[in-house]
């Protein structure tokens, strides 16, 4: 049992990458939920996207997904950049209006 575990540890495979991606995903979520700075939230989102990307690439390596996984990863990177651009534009807009980018202070809409 123990040996098996060590063997498993010693030979990184799909699951290892998936674990890393899972951790990144969780950390990304954590950042998104806890950080009060909008930009930090954005960074958390990037982390989430990257964790998914890692999945795609890992799957394309280990399973029959083949190059389509790479393709998706590429597209996701581009989409992420587009989204980041728009998000930052919106953040700038927010900053211009509110003079803050603290998410908590931007909560006039509620109920």
């Amino acid at each position: 049992m123990e040996n098996q575990f060590i063997y498993w540890l010693a030979n990184p495979g799909l699951n290892h990458f998936l674990m890393v991606s899972a951790l990144l995903f969780a950390l990304g979520l954590m950042a998104v939920i806890t950080r009060r700075n909008v930009i930090m939230v954005l960074m958390g989102v990037e982390l989430i996207l990257n964790s998914a990307n890692l999945n795609f690439v890992a799957f394309s390596h280990y399973t029959s997904l083949s190059l389509e996984g790479h393709m998706i990863a590429l597209f996701v990177i581009i989409i992420a950049s587009a989204e980041a651009a728009v998000a930052l534009a919106i953040i700038l807009n927010i900053y211009n209006r509110f003079r803050t980018i603290n998410v908590d202070e931007i909560s006039n809409l509620k109920g």
Binding site: A10, V20, A22, L24, I39, L42, M43, N50, H61, N93
Partner: protein, 168 residues
């Protein structure tokens, strides 16, 4: 313990460690740089997984593009005032519980899954194949992402430019 494993663990630590730093660092600039390291670590993973083109793109677009963008954002919104770089983290515990729950769930799921693994192909020539795919099967997304970028540009312009009439 082969090289692959060593590299994997090394960069796994780098990636996750910098991600942790990113999440918990009080200074936003530190966070941004931590994110950069994390992304670089991922790029290394991509290389490990024989996805060098993706790795390159990751470096170019993410590290070179998005991260710079983010830093610009930080600068623009803090306007160089150091206090503003210090950012709050609150509700750590509830969210930590939530996030770790998610992680546990995913771990649980992954370890309980028999993946439909295939014999790992050691690809050497990935880029030409990707190129072929891009103009055959993925032609439509390829075109569509062009439109997406156009829209993003329009949107970003619209959002970031100062309107003449602001007083409302």
């Amino acid at each position: 313990m082969n090289l692959f494993a060593i590299i994997f663990y090394l960069f796994a630590i780098v990636t996750i460690g910098s991600a942790v730093i990113m999440v918990f660092s009080k200074n936003i600039v530190h966070s941004a740089f931590a994110l950069m390291f994390s992304l670089i670590g991922l790029a290394v993973f991509y290389v490990l997984l024989y996805a060098d083109f993706v790795a390159a793109t990751q470096l170019v677009v993410y590290v070179g593009g998005i991260l710079i963008l983010i830093l610009f954002g930080v600068m623009l919104t803090t306007q160089g005032i150091p206090e503003k770089l210090e950012v709050l983290i609150i509700n750590v515990w509830p969210s930590a519980i939530l996030s770790s729950l998610i992680a546990v769930i995913l771990f649980f799921v992954f370890t309980n899954t028999e993946w439909n693994l295939i014999q790992v192909v050691e690809r050497t020539e990935v880029v030409p194949e990707l190129g072929m795919l891009l103009i055959s099967k993925f032609l439509l997304p390829f075109q569509a992402i062009g439109v997406l970028l156009l829209i993003a540009i329009i949107g970003a312009m619209l959002m970031s430019t100062q309107s003449k009439r602001l007083n409302n």
